[in-house]
């Protein structure tokens, strides 16, 4: 009789808790979004599955000694996974559009206002009872506005590991929602005439420039903002491997195998942070609201900066491309192209939007470095 009772206590049915079941439902929702709606499936599928695994009672995958515990400890606690992903992103990024028109960096800078405004907003939320965001928490939440998954996870693991699950889920969900969030904001702040502006073709960039560029970014970061070196350094390494043309094998591995393997485990580890006691809080709601706000403000400030540049620039600049400054490569650039085509079927803005788009990646890495240096 005793052994039957023991067996009963070892079953899932006897050990399920209500919050645990809700979290499994959240995991299933993420799986649904990934599989049926194609929302950032590469990340949301492993995250959703990780969320389910971690909330299965008795198995204890996230308890000390469990698989997900180790994966989290090795990959995210140390910051290694997001940095490996950043190396792959560097190897995937073509900076030609930015080198041909370096002023686009200003758009990438302007869009980072979404981050810093949200930081302020997160602290403001403290006036509502139930919210107690520290400056570290607020910074980690605000980086969602950088629209860059690895950067958000890297910063959250350093500043607010408790909020990491919610922050990563918000960051990736909103990146999937870029085609829905951005266009209304872009249309609201531009006139139809502005959206029709055609931009001159970009010049061809030489191979030498492309090789020197990552080295130059690295040098400037080393001199002025060493706190951003982990992110920027790995990014530049990936980019140099790509552009140098002598290590195609390494570059291909960084772009494919390494980034894919890392993505699986990064997703699982993030999912393991979706435990009921950490996720089912009023703070998660706050993070979701603030994340959307960060995206919206970033988009708007990019558009305004582009409008300003268009006024003082000799060559015309379509204000729409400012929206790509939030990063979310290449989704944001595609959205710009689409909204541009709606107003002028012959106006292909994709290449022009890639400039601010990759500038946004650098901008968010720089903003993350600044936050680490000032708050960390």
């Amino acid at each position: 009789m005793d052994s039957i009772l023991n067996l009963w206590h070892a079953t899932g049915i006897a050990n399920f808790t209500f919050p645990g079941l809700i979290m499994i439902a959240v995991g299933c929702l993420l799986l649904f979004l990934a599989i049926a709606k194609n929302f950032e499936p590469l990340l949301l599928l492993p995250i959703g599955f990780g969320a389910i695994l971690t909330n299965i009672p008795v198995a204890g995958l996230s308890d000390p000694g469990g698989l997900l515990y180790h994966v989290y400890y090795v990959g995210i606690d140390t910051g290694i996974f997001p940095l490996l992903i950043f190396m792959g992103v560097g190897a995937l990024t073509d900076f030609s559009a930015l080198i041909a028109n370096p002023r686009m960096l200003l758009l990438g800078a302007a869009a980072q206002f979404g981050i810093f405004a949200t930081l302020f907003g997160a602290i403001l939320l403290n006036f509502i009872p139930g919210f107690e965001f520290s400056l570290q928490d607020a910074s980690a939440i605000a980086i969602i506005g950088g629209a860059d998954g690895p950067t958000a996870i890297f910063l959250a693991s350093k500043l607010a590991p408790d909020l990491l699950g919610a922050i990563a889920v918000a960051a990736y969900s909103y990146m999937a929602l870029v085609p829905i969030i951005q266009p209304p904001i872009m249309r609201a702040f531009t006139t139809s005439e502005e959206r029709k502006i055609q931009m001159p073709e970009l010049r061809k960039v030489s191979k030498k420039e492309k090789i020197i560029f990552p080295l130059m970014v690295l040098t400037l970061t080393a001199i002025f903002l060493p706190a951003a070196i982990p992110l920027v350094g790995m990014f530049c390494l990936g980019n140099l491997m790509r552009e140098s043309g002598v290590v195609d094998r390494l570059s291909n591995s960084a772009q494919n195998e390494i980034i894919n393997i890392t993505t699986i485990f990064l997703g699982l580890a993030v999912g393991s942070k979706l435990a009921a006691d950490q996720f089912l809080t009023v703070e998660t709601l706050g993070i979701l609201v603030l994340g959307a706000l960060a995206f919206a403000i970033g988009t708007a400030s990019g558009v305004f900066m582009a409008k300003g540049l268009n006024k003082i620039s000799k060559t015309p600049i379509n204000p729409l491309i400012g929206a790509a400054g939030v990063s979310a490569v290449p989704m944001a650039a595609r959205v710009v192209n689409k909204v541009g085509l709606e107003n002028n079927p012959h106006n292909f803005l994709l290449m022009h939007a890639m400039g601010p788009n990759v500038a946004g990646v650098l901008g968010s890495a720089v903003a993350a470095g600044i936050l680490l240096a000032l708050v960390g």
Binding site: L105, A109, A122, A359, V366, L374
Partner: protein, 81 residues
């Protein structure tokens, strides 16, 4: 720390953060522009090489003929517009 003090810190952070991002990326603009200029200065032959059309040469058409034909086409276009 009470919320008021936190807000002041957050406001300061917002200001310093935005200023630093702009300063850093502006420096990068300057550096990229300077780098592009230097590269194009020292790499003139490298850039111009692909612009020539060797296919004509290989067919044995002298450069003077190409120039004459191009001038004729240009004049024809001008007269007909």
């Amino acid at each position: 720390m009470d919320i008021g003090a936190l807000l002041t810190t957050a406001g300061n952070l917002m200001l310093t953060g935005m200023v630093s991002v702009f300063v850093f990326l502006s420096l990068l603009i300057g550096a990229v522009t300077a780098m592009s200029r230097l590269v194009s200065k020292f790499a003139q032959p490298d850039l111009e090489a692909p612009q020539r059309t060797p296919s004509f040469k290989s067919q044995g058409v002298p450069n003077e003929h190409i120039a004459a034909i191009s001038a004729a086409i240009a004049q024809y276009k001008k007269n007909n517009n």
